[in-house]
């Protein structure tokens, strides 16, 4: 370091600066050096220093390469280019290509200099200009200067020709329209002897073919023989010291010509015929003990696969690949795997022969090879070999490392799904995968699993038992926990009572409290996320209905979450708690088995939703939601808000618009609801339809767990698509079904509504006694103040007898947070002749004052 000599003036030589930078021990030191240099250079630029300009530029280029900003030097480059000497021009052009890129407007200023230099008498300067142009020209420059370049293609100097050809490549790439201008010259240049020119020209031809169909056709006609000749000459030529690499003459030329042959021969039988022989010759003659030879063989095989080759040639190619595959060199194996994937399209049988070797490669130590092998295996799977292959893959899953696990899991899941003929096997594989790598399993995979389980009643017992066992063994995998929890909730009694055992199973003893234990454990584990916890809560709720003795305990567990900071969990626990406590009567019908999820339409919808746009959430289930409103549980419902409050469901009227993005899980949920509705022509008609919807609401609630009610909004939106503005008509239907076997024919009515409260009646008739009707009245408080001492009285005409049961309570909580229900039964002695009518009187206390409200109900449905 020439510190004594004021090293940071523009007098510093490039070498010294490099040395100074290399000598810096820390990044800060290096930055300091660079900064000083840049300052000096900037000073020199503003001084318009002529002598050291090129040295400064050289330094600037080095600095740029290290990654520092150097835009202040751009104009200097132009000045250098405009200079007349070769050294200045050289640095100038070099700087141009390094410091600028084609998007800079400064480039336009250079066009004129370039034009002059292209016409220069000094070949080297012409060469410089061509180089620069070839590296950096933009579309306009290309158009401007194309004629010059074309002319230069015809000069005698091979170096210039070569550079002109390279430059033309870039021109054609930027402006494909100009391709036709270069066609002729390119084809004629194939007769050159100089390899440099040949390579560039071959490359130019390849580019031309890509750019324009016309050029492709032209070259097909005119250049194929030339190419064959070139290849023959170069592969038969004796030792040529200029071009020799590892005993082969100019492998690069070999490769380029082979590639051009591939482009020309693709899809063209004529052309392919011409090159068949030479391809065979190259494939057999080339030695494969050196990398150069292997490179040529690789290209040759690719070409054979790409054109319309004879079958003999194809067999030859696959043999070469087989040889590659067993080579010890990793590079060769990698390349072979790559090729085999393309060969699959041509000849699958031959590739199958190498299946074992490929499987070995999946377990290889090298990550690139593993990836390729896995993809290849995925392509190889067919119906016959799917079971052993999957077994291998799943075994490997256990020992593979984490970043590979994700890929492997995804592949295994899709293989299993595509090729499973046998449901039991599918379930087994999926359970294994879930146990091993559940965390990597994607959402729609385990959704599909659930759909399958619900569609296979004979396997449900087996599934729930296996999942229970898996859960006991290791409950850390998220997806496993979710699926297990769902199954235990749904099929709890199968678990406990060992229902529908398969032959291969051994009986296990699981008591009801064991099942609840498992769920509680899953709920409490600190590592589970919100969705899983939500699912646990639902499953607990279901169990409380299926195992009545555990109801108290479940309630205790559920209540613990009342104060949970996550709104979703809090809401659920409060709602569920209230269901368990107060709505014993509807609980069992509420928590009936989920309807069979329709697989076919689920798969269809899933395929469609993978190309979904946001609107799909609303439109996809339109078919479904059309069905949803056909559910015959009575037509228009009054505003649902107070009734929704009945079950402590959120009273948001406006559906949540922003949440519920159209990811696949949401679509599934929509579809689930929609499909659930379509398929319920079975048990119980309307009420079970409505209860199913609510069960969907409860069980697979909301995936993108936002605050509040994605669930209801999900239900809301299908409803939204068709008529009703209020979000939850189905929920109302549920409430109609408050008594276990509601009669669909008598829709519930809002009997009375005032500013403070609302009263709804639901009706039920006994089948053999048309005169008698049992009614359930429910009262909801519309104010924000609690009403106490609530009392309801009714009066009826003489021909009707009325009996009033005691009310559920006499306090009506505010804002619909609870409700009072009361049963009445009426007998209409003039049934069929006179309709039902009633006068009502309601008295309550609010804020210490007594109030009284009266009214008449005349909107009883006909036929009561």
């Amino acid at each position: 370091m020439d510190l004594s000599l004021n090293p940071f003036s523009s007098g510093t030589r490039l070498r010294d600066m490099i040395r100074a930078i290399r000598a810096s021990k820390t990044a800060a030191e290096e930055r300091a050096v660079v900064r000083r240099e840049c300052a000096a250079i900037r000073a020199a630029i503003s001084d318009n220093d002529q002598d050291y300009r090129h040295r400064n530029m050289a330094k600037l280029m080095f600095i740029h390469m290290l990654g520092y900003p150097t835009h202040f030097g751009q104009m200097e480059c132009l000045k250098l280019i405009a200079a007349s000497g070769f050294p200045e021009k050289r640095i100038g052009y070099l700087g141009l290509t390094l410091l600028l890129d084609e998007r800079q407007e400064v480039l336009m200023l250079v066009t004129n200099s370039l034009k002059q230099d292209l016409n220069h008498s000094n070949q080297f300067i012409v060469g410089l200009a061509l180089c620069a142009l070839g590296n950096i020209c933009s579309a306009e420059m290309a158009r401007d200067l194309a004629p010059e370049v074309e002319r230069l293609l015809q000069t005698r100097d091979p170096n210039t020709k070569k550079k002109a050809a390279l430059c033309s490549i870039r021109i054609v790439r930027k402006v494909p329209d100009l391709a036709e201008n270069f066609m002729g010259s390119a084809a004629s240049l194939l007769k050159e002897k100089h390899h440099g020119v040949l390579i560039s020209v071959v490359q130019l031809c390849t580019e031309l073919c890509k750019a324009s169909r016309e050029a492709l056709e032209y070259l097909r006609k005119h250049s194929v023989e030339g190419l064959v000749r070139i290849l023959r000459d170069v592969s038969n030529s004796s030792y040529a010291p200029e071009y020799d690499i590892a005993g082969i003459t100019d492998p690069f030329l070999h490769i380029r010509v082979l590639r051009l042959m591939r482009t020309l021969g693709q899809g063209d039988a004529d052309c392919s015929e011409h090159v068949n022989d030479i391809l065979a010759q190259v494939a057999t003659k080339t030695e494969s003990n050196k990398n150069a030879g292997n490179a040529i063989l690789y290209e040759c095989v690719e070409t054979i696969m790409g054109i319309e080759a004879t079958s003999g040639l194809r067999v030859l190619a696959i043999n070469i690949l087989g040889r590659f595959l067993s080579n010890r060199d990793n590079n060769i194996r990698y390349v072979a795997l790559n090729m085999l994937m393309k060969a699959m399209a041509v000849d699958t049988l031959a590739v199958q022969r190498h299946r074992v070797t490929i499987l070995e490669c999946v377990k290889d130590a090298d990550v690139s090879i593993r990836k390729r092998a896995l993809e290849l295996v995925y392509l190889l799977v067919n119906d016959t070999n799917v079971k052993p292959l999957t077994k291998e893959l799943v075994d490997y899953l256990e020992v593979s490392d984490d970043d590979f696990k994700e890929d492997l899991t995804a592949k295994i899941c899709s293989i299993v799904e595509k090729f499973s003929q046998d449901k039991l096997w599918y379930l087994d594989q999926m359970f294994k995968v879930l146990t091993l790598t559940g965390n990597f399993v994607k959402d729609d995979v385990w959704h599909a699993l659930i759909v399958l389980i619900s569609n296979a009643p004979e396997l449900q017992g087996y599934s729930v038992r296996s999942l229970y066992k898996a859960l006991q063994a290791s409950g850390t995998q998220e997806s496993l926990v979710r699926v297990a929890v769902w199954c235990i909730g749904e099929y709890g009694e199968m678990l406990v009572n060992n229902i529908s055992m398969l032959d291969v199973e051994e009986p296990i003893t699981v008591t009801e409290s064991d099942a609840v234990d498992a769920l509680e454990l899953a709920l409490k584990r600190y590592s589970v996320d919100v969705t899983t916890r939500a699912m646990c809560l639902v499953a607990l709720l279901k169990l409380s209905s299926r195992f009545p003795q555990t109801s108290k305990r479940i309630q205790a567990i559920v209540v613990q979450n009342k104060g949970n900071t996550v709104l979703e969990l809090q809401q659920r626990s409060i709602e569920f708690n209230s269901i368990i406590q107060r709505h014993q009567s509807i609980k069992s019908s509420l928590l009936e088995r989920m309807p069979v999820l329709d697989e076919a339409s689920y798969l269809l919808k899933r395929a469609a939703s993978s190309q979904a746009t946001v609107s799909l959430t609303k439109s996809a289930p339109s078919a479904a939601s059309g069905g949803s409103l056909k559910v015959p549980n009575g037509a228009v419902k009054p505003p649902p808000a107070p009734l929704a409050d009945l079950l402590d469901l959120s009273s948001d009227d406006a559906p949540v618009t922003t949440s519920a993005p159209s990811t696949a899980p949401n679509d599934f949920l929509q579809d689930l609801l929609g499909i659930g509705l379509i398929d319920t022509s079975t048990a119980g008609g309307a009420p079970s339809a409505s209860t199913d919807i609510l069960m969907d609401l409860l069980s697979i609630g909301s995936y993108p767990v936002q605050n509040g009610l994605p669930a209801t909004s999900n239900i809301g939106s299908p409803g939204q698509v068709t008529k009703h503005a209020p979000g939850t008509p189905q929920v109302i239907d549920l409430l109609d079904g408050l008594s276990p076997n509601v009669n669909a024919a008598y829709p519930s009515i809002t009997a009375f509504q005032s500013a403070t409260l609302k009263m709804t009646f639901n009706f039920k008739k006994q089948p053999g006694k048309p005169q008698e009707t049992t009614m359930h009245a429910s009262f909801t408080n519309l104010t924000s103040v609690t009403l106490t001492n609530f009392m309801f009285q009714a009066a009826v005409p003489k021909f009707i007898q009325l009996r009033l049961d005691p009310a559920s309570s006499s306090t009506l909580p505010a804002s619909g947070n609870g409700s009072i229900t009361q049963s009445l039964s009426v007998t209409n002695n003039q049934h069929g002749q006179k309709p039902l009518a009633m006068r009502i009187r309601i008295s309550y206390k609010v804020n210490g004052e007594d109030r009284l409200e009266q009214g008449q109900i005349s909107n009883f449905p006909a036929g009561l």
Partner: protein, 115 residues
Amino acid sequence: MGIRFVLLVNKQGQTRLAQYYEHLSLDERRALEGEIVRKCLARTDQQCSFVEHRNYKVVYRRYASLFFLVGVDNDENELAILEFIHLLVETMDRHFGNVVSSNTPMIQYCEDTLT
């Protein structure tokens, strides 16, 4: 040509030479170099010389303490690129003597001509 960039990197990961044939901003370049260099340097000698990164491949070869990395399109012949790297090294060797400490503009000029 399907070559996107050529990088010369030493064992500590410092870039000695960087030639880009497509337009990347400075930040992108630095990020790219960081990622790729880390991947390549972490590989052992037994592993193959090709690394897949995003939508292109990186072919690398180690010569003493220098790593030569070439980024190419997915459809390039990798073995041919290996040969190319070797050719580059040999040419530079013959031209300059020891490749490491030399006049970089000359290198760039050479590379430009060769590629």
